[in-house]
Structure formats: C-alpha cells, structure tokens
Point group: C2
Chain length 333, copies 2
C-alpha cells in the first residue's frame, strides 16, 4: 500500500535550496519486524543543520539525491512488536520526512505527558532547547549582569538561550534578520535589545550596546558575525561554537577569527555538539519545565501544515524568513 | 655618569629583525628617589613576545624607535630608599635591556633562594614556566594517557610544558626547527617523539604519531600549525592559545582555523595570558621546585654574554636558532 508520503532530495542545491530540490514521493508503508515499532509522524522538526547534511558536511552523515530527508519527529506508535511500547504511545524518533517510520525500540524516546504542547518536545523542551541549555548553562555558566549576545535570536536554539539568559539575570542582545523578528525578540522574549542584521551596522550597534564588551557569545552562525563578536569580547568571555548557519548554503568553508582576539580576551571557547548531552536531557527538562509553565520560557512555532509543505518551509527557514521554530504538522486532524 | 649601557630600538624591522635594528647607547645611571630602589641587571630574559611589542601589537604596549627595549630581569638591589628592600637583595623586575634600572618597590618581586641557578627565575621557575603550568595544568588539566602536542618544543614555555606533561603521564609529541633540537627534546627532555618542522611533513607525521588524535595542543605559534593540529583533535580536546610566533615577524595577522573543526572535536579552547596567573605564582613554584630538584624538570639555557650581545641573541631567537631558553648574562663576573 503506497500511502507513505515521503520527501526525498531531488538534487543537490547550490546556495539557498529551492522547492524543486525536493521531490514528494509515494512509498510503501514500512512494516515492523519482531522487536520493532511502527510510528506515525505527527510533528516534524525542520532545523538548519539539515542544510549541512545535504551539503555532505554534517557529522551525522550525508543526504544525497534520491535519499529520504532526515529529521526528528514527535510520532505516535501505531503498532508495536516490542514489549516496551504500545499503540498510542507518544515518542520522539528520527522519523525523517515521511508519514510512517519503523524503528528499533532502542531508537525511540518516550515524550513525557508534562510536555504541552507536544511539539515543544522538538523545540524549547527538545533538541534545540537542550542545545541552548548545554551551551549557555553548562558550558558558559552565566552570571547575573553578564552581557550575552545571541545571533539567530528567535530560532529554536537562540530563543531558548536568550530567555534562559534573562532568567539568570543577564543583559541579552539579540541579532535577527528583520524588524519584525527584532520586535518579537524584545517584546515577547524579553531581549534587552535586538539588532537587525540586514539593516543595521552590527559592529557599531554592538559597540553602543555593549560598551564593556561581550561576556557570552552564543554562536549559531560563524563567518563574519563570529569575527565581529570576537573583536568585542570582555575579559574572561565565553564563546559557544554551536552552528555555522552563515556557511550552510555556501560551497566552501571559511576560516575563523584570528586566535589573538581570543588570547586578548582570555576567552574560553567551547565546541558544542548537542548529542553529547543526551544523557542529561532529563535534568534539562526538569530545570526548564517550571520556566515553561510560568511563562518565562516560551517558543513561537512556525508551523507548516501537511508534509507536502515541508520543502517550502525548509526553504523559508534557509532564507531566514521563519518566525520562530520551524515545525511541520504532518498528521492532520 | 654615562655608565648605563642600554639597548634601544633603532628602526622598526620588517620580517625577522637584524642586528642593526638595535642601537647600543650609553645613558645616565638612574637615581632612586625616596621610596624607590636602584637595581643592577644580572640576567635579562629574551622572549618571543618582544617581537610583538616591536610590531606594536602586544597587549603590554609598544616599543618604538628610540625606546629602550623592555624585558624581565633578575637583578640585584644596589641602593634602596624603601624599607622592604636592602642592598644585595635578589629581585625580579622589568628592568628592560639596560644595566641599571630604578623601580617603585611595588614593582619588585623577591627571588627565593630556593631557585638555583638564579636565572631559572626567568625560565622554568619564572614567567615561561608559569605560562606552561597555567596552560597545561590549570587550563588543559592533563590526564594520564593524553596525547599532548607542543610546537616550539624546547623553548622556555614548550620545554616546561612538555616535561610537566610527562610528569602527568601523557604521551608528548614535540615540534621543533632542527634535528638537533628534536634530538634534545627526545633524549634530554623526555618527549616521546619530536617532528622537525623544516624537514618533515607535519600533518603526515602527526597522523602517524597520533592515530587517535590530539588531546591537548599547546599552541605557541598560531598560523598553519594551529590549523594542522586543529584538524587532528581527539574528541574533548583542549587547545591552549598562548603565542603567535608564526605571525610575530609578519606585518599582517592571519585568521584562525574554521570553527567547525573545534565543534567537531568538542574542543575547549583557552586564551592564555600569563599575567592573569601572577597571583598563583607561589603555588606554581611550590609545585615545580620538587621536579626541578629531582631532575624531572630542567631547562637548557642559551646564554649570551654581555648586554651588547643581546641584539644578536634576540635575532637568533627570532630565526629559531636558539637552543633552549634565551637569556643574556648582563652582569659579568
């Protein structure tokens, strides 16, 4: 029965992906073998790292033309041939861009009923949130009064990091790609200021906003932004190297800032890979659930409806046009 | 009385300094005002950072044509107009390249009689040693079995770091500029291997010597070496950014390695400025004195005789021709 809609990569894009780089395919619904579990995708997460998989440069592996796009999802168990799971269970899994997926039981993670709405398991209480928490709290260890700068201020990682920094008494400066995003960052997420990177002089604005320098730079973009921030670090600064969005759509990889900038600031620079912090996910959720409940931590979701809308939504994400965490609602009511 | 020989900068060198970039000058012997101390220079330390002062790029300030060259020395008190010091006391001070210097008492640091020979207060038990200790022990925190790579393997900082890494049970790979230096590193300092950077393919040799990657890279040179090492880091690696010798003789500053290399390795990168660790100098000396006494920590000194020999010795240091820590014996017996 060919009722499993999939999105495959049609061609390898140069630069920003276009919708015709993706193909909608009707595939067979997979079957669960003994010990396996059949899941139905409810929400699919769209994340910048996927561009890096398409470029063949991501540590998790490559996606080539003809391959199913990968991605994490919140799914519901339809059929279980493993004693740990039963139909109706809500789980996280790397379902990919498709309606049905089969997994070994060890690849599934139960989603706590505390997580509400359930799509938050893909954003503020999911991998982006864990990324933000690991980088900001466990690595950078913010102190009250620290000046924290966050590019991609309202994306899944950035919005969580920015709000967590406010919870810890920091002054938080965001950088985002439109006036609408900047207004949202300040008015809804509580940023002290937000710089429109397309319209404003980032260096000049940072000089004005951070006259004592930057204590924590949570880097999600790399490239010129990392250099600009590194030139303005306060002594004892922490830099979290977490994403390279500026490079994801380019064929070549740029160098980094001159190391002398980091020596001068006595900076500590952390390479962050969220997978390393999986063993501490429960600790992160326990810490952040209260903030979600009392409203100090919220997440605007940019929800596309229907799996067929995923390519357009991903292209919008790559153009920086999403407002909040990009999610596809795959299972329609 | 013009009996105070000084070395001044004669012109700003491009590239590697030449002897005629320096001028030997007879100046007046300074006098100690009330509260000050007159010192006679015994040993003057020559260090790579001085090139950076000449280029006007060092955080401690610039040295311009006509200026006295700066530098740390072990001196003896000749005359004291401060109750804390008496003639005959042995002190460390930033005397500069001259025979006599005057200081506020607060600028002098008594040299413990435990430090023997006294010139070790400028190398293994002095600023280079403190630099090595701070970077390797306090920042990188070596574990037994770690693979440690040290460029400039037999200089003041490198030799101390390499021997300390051996004390802590690490495998230590040096990089140096001649077969003679490499032989010295292995045979005398206990390095497990040493790569001749002028004759060997550094990348290929590192691949062969560190098949599991580099756990600690103690960077003293920057440039291509930092990139080559960063491409070969083990997961959880620590990189100490401490010196930029590769750039000291060039007019421009290069960029750093692509940050993706550090993300992939989950590296922690530390900017190191030794001045920050001055408050812990006694702790460092207490830890290292026993190693010096039992022979696990030694320092070959490349001693030039007489202040007039300092320019040639510094030029040799800049060409990488020194064998061990460069020191000038200023006070002749």
């Amino acid at each position: 029965m060919n009722d499993n809609m999939q999105i495959q990569l049609a061609g390898t894009p140069e630069g920003i992906p276009q919708e015709d780089d993706f193909a909608v395919v009707e595939a067979a619904r997979p079957e669960a073998a003994q010990g396996q579990v059949l899941c139905e995708t409810h929400y699919l997460s769209l994340d910048p790292y996927m561009r890096s998989q398409i470029a063949g440069r991501h540590m998790s592996g490559s996606v080539k033309p003809g391959d199913l796009l990968r991605g994490e999802a919140v799914s519901r168990v339809l059929q279980s041939r493993h004693p740990d799971f039963a139909p109706g269970d809500t789980v996280r899994c790397f379902a990919g861009w498709q309606q049905y997926s089969v997994h070994e039981a060890s690849e599934l993670h139960r989603v706590s009923a505390d997580i509400e709405p359930v799509s938050y398991a893909l954003s503020v209480l999911g991998m982006p949130g864990l990324t933000a928490y690991a980088g900001l709290i466990w690595q950078a260890q913010p102190r009250a009064g620290d000046v924290v700068v966050i590019p991609a201020a309202i994306g899944g990682v950035g919005a969580t990091a920015g709000q967590l920094a406010k919870v810890h008494g920091c002054r938080v400066i965001g950088i985002a790609g439109s006036d609408e995003k900047c207004a949202y960052a300040v008015e809804e997420l509580g940023y002290d200021a937000c710089i429109n990177r397309r319209r404003e002089n980032i260096a000049g604005r940072l000089d004005a906003l951070c006259p004592q320098g930057i204590d924590i730079f949570f880097d999600l973009v790399g490239g010129a932004m990392l250099q600009t921030a590194s030139e303005r670090l306060a002594q004892g600064a922490r830099v979290i190297l977490c994403g390279l969005m500026a490079e994801y759509n380019s064929a070549s990889r740029g160098g980094g800032p001159p190391p002398g900038l980091w020596i001068r600031a006595r900076a500590t620079v952390y390479g962050l890979v969220v997978y390393d912090f999986e063993p501490r996910r429960d600790e992160f959720i326990a810490a952040c659930l209260p903030y979600v409940r009392d409203g100090r931590l919220k997440m605007r979701e940019d929800i596309a409806t229907g799996l067929a809308a995923a390519p357009a939504a991903f292209c919008r994400l790559m153009r920086g046009e999403n407002m909040g965490k990009a999610v596809v609602k795959v299972k329609l009511d």
